[in-house]
């Protein structure tokens, strides 16, 4: 029984992180309809950035977070410039172009950081007891949970509590109507990319402390983001959190029951099932 509680808690912690990964993708896709297949690669890039900063500065790994938060929105804005120039069919072209970008980033990271597996490893591991449960959390798991939830809550707050959020949600629900309502859709798209870039920036350092960095690791993160986005419907922060938790718990369970090697199959199979059995796809759902 204890072991299942442990799986559940680490699944929730991992799942919150997955929600963070999906949030950036969902925001960018929702507002601009750009399918960013390089999403995972950007997160890995941010992770390498954090790793390099941690290695060379000797500071606590958490200091790399502000650095990534500053740099990654820049990268995302560059991507926005690229994507905005695409012609119809926009979705398919954005998919193919970002596929090319993913390829480019993977190989650039291979060149810069080699194929070795890398991880930001703190010297000492602190454990925390979860009150009322026979479960321990590592400091890393706790930070993962807290920061991911904080970021999700922040995005939810922006979307639902500010004027900007109103404009973002309008663009997510119906671009055409937003345009007619006098919202500058191009500007809003830029803001979505910038916000998405910040979420990518935050996800990178957390990734580097949780999972091994590897130039080819981005694809899995991209698939995760897409599965959760389709599951939740665009723009729904609550749905994304629920999707992240479900996936996190499902993966932890699969890893425990079947073995760690089968974990990767979970998100791929879920994505295929969602696509095949939910033919209306992503776009229709917009209940924020």
């Amino acid at each position: 029984m204890e072991i299942y509680a442990q799986i559940l808690v680490s699944g929730f912690s991992l799942g919150s992180f997955y929600a963070l990964i999906a949030l950036g993708f969902s925001l960018i896709f929702g507002v601009t309809r750009a399918f960013n297949l390089a999403h995972g690669e950007l997160i890995i890039l941010s992770g390498y950035l954090a790793y390099a900063f941690w290695k060379f500065s000797g500071l606590s790994p958490y200091w790399s977070i502000p650095v990534c938060l500053l740099v990654m929105p820049g990268a995302a804005l560059l991507l926005n410039l690229l994507v905005r120039r695409l012609k119809a069919p926009f979705e398919l072209n954005s998919l193919v172009v970002t596929f090319g970008l993913a390829l480019f980033l993977q190989n650039s990271m291979l060149f810069l950081f080699s194929a070795d597996y890398r991880l930001i490893q703190p010297e000492t591991v602190h454990f925390f007891q979860v009150p009322g449960l026979p479960v321990n959390l590592t400091e890393n798991q706790l930070m993962l949970l807290l920061l991911s939830l904080a970021a999700t809550a922040a995005v939810h707050g922006v979307l639902h509590g500010t004027f900007l959020g109103k404009a973002l949600r309008a663009a997510i629900q119906d671009r055409q109507a937003a345009l007619l309502a006098g919202i500058n859709v191009g500007r809003i798209g830029m803001i979505a990319f910038a916000l998405g870039g910040m979420l990518i920036g935050l996800a990178g350092p957390l990734y580097a402390q949780t999972m091994y960095l590897h130039p080819a690791a981005g694809l899995e993160a991209t698939l995760l983001a897409i599965v959760i986005t389709i599951f939740a419907g665009v723009g729904s922060t609550r749905g994304i959190l629920a999707g992240g938790w479900l996936l996190g718990v499902a993966e932890s369970l699969a890893a425990f029951v079947l073995g760690a090697g089968w974990r990767e199959l979970v998100s791929a199979l879920l994505l295929i099932s969602l696509l095949v059995f939910r033919p209306q796809g992503i776009v229709l759902k917009s209940g924020t």
């Binding site: 979705e91 398919l92 172009v97 090319g100 080699s114 194929a115 090697g261 791929a268």
Partner: protein, 324 residues
């Protein structure tokens, strides 16, 4: 006056002759045999990908067929102790079998959603082979796969197993055959059905085209040909592992080569392979031993922005005149 289709055919024949004759002029050059042999190989892979794309489907997951073809043949060879001559065409059928699954499950997916589903589907055979170590040797892969047998024909020994020159000619022949298949995928009645489906599915079905059947046929042909490439690869290289043959690059390369060369031109995919692969191997690889494949990503991005119809449209008009 020459019709465009004749011009294309003449160019194709001239290219094949050119590729066949240069070794006679320049003598022994193993390095170049290998590079141009692989360029031909990737040309076939690009054609295979493009046959499915001609029906309007952009696949991001052809590595699944490639890897299954490679494993199918290598395992048959290992357990059955059969000659690669038999296991290659049989192993490739594993790829086609996975193509059948795509055809059934992805029947109603189009565009972006089909792309995503194909991308994710590569994980299935990869993870299974990775974890089913007792049969597939798991993530360590298979080493020492039997090389191609030597052939003796009319008293002539053709050492496919160890001569790069012989392998080069084999791959060139393979490319020429794939080129013929590509030709009929563009210009036959069947090819026009694919084009009709690609341009407007509703109109195609109302004109009497059996869209599911034709697209399915294109998929099976495409997956079998990709499986053949994978199987051949296993025996040419002698070693495979899941991370190698189910790699994202294997899915990406034919897509990049075809789009860069020109998806709707007979020679497009081949042109892409014959330009980009040697460029990559001769110019970039020596300077950037790791990461040189980034160029394929860059080329793809540039192509979509600056010449989405590919380079072949500059050389030869894509629209063939099939009637007088």
């Amino acid at each position: 006056m020459l019709s465009k289709i004749k011009l294309t055919a003449i160019t194709a024949v001239a290219a094949v002759v050119g590729l066949a004759v240069w070794p006679l002029v320049f003598g022994e050059a193993d390095f170049y045999y290998q590079i141009f042999g692989m360029a031909c190989f990737y040309g076939v892979l690009a054609i295979a990908w493009n046959i499915y794309a001609l029906s309007g489907a952009i696949s991001l997951g052809h590595a699944a067929f490639f890897g299954l073809g490679a494993y199918g043949s290598a395992l048959l060879c290992h357990y059955g102790q059969w000659s690669p001559v038999i296991t290659i065409p049989l192993g490739a059928a594993t790829g086609a079998a996975f193509g059948v699954l795509w055809g059934v499950f992805f029947r109603n997916l189009r565009g972006v959603y089909l792309g995503l589903a194909t991308l994710a589907s590569v994980e299935i055979p990869k993870v299974i082979i990775d974890n089913w170590g007792s049969v597939t040797f798991g993530s360590l892969g298979i080493v020492g796969i039997a090389s191609l047998p030597d052939l003796s024909l009319f008293g002539l020994e053709i050492p496919f197993g160890h001569s790069l020159k012989a392998q080069y000619y084999l791959l060139l022949l393979f490319l020429a055959l794939a080129g013929l298949i590509h030709y009929s995928s563009l210009f036959s009645r069947w090819g026009w059905a694919l084009r009709a489906i690609r341009e407007n599915e509703t109109a195609a079905v109302m004109a009497g085209v059996d869209i599911f059947r034709r697209r399915f046929e294109a998929l099976i042909l495409s997956s079998y040909l990709t499986g053949l490439c994978g199987a051949l690869y296993a025996h040419l290289i002698g070693l495979i592992e899941p991370a190698l043959v189910f790699n994202l690059h294997i899915s990406a390369l034919p897509l990049v080569l075809s789009i860069f060369g020109g998806r709707f031109a007979l020679l497009g995919p081949v042109l892409g392979a014959l330009i980009l692969y040697p460029l990559d191997q001769l110019v970039l690889q020596p300077r950037l031993p790791t990461g040189h494949e980034a160029v394929y990503g860059l080329v793809l991005i540039m192509t979509i922005f600056f010449f989405p119809k590919g380079v072949a449209t500059w050389l030869l008009k894509p629209r063939p005149a099939v009637w007088k």
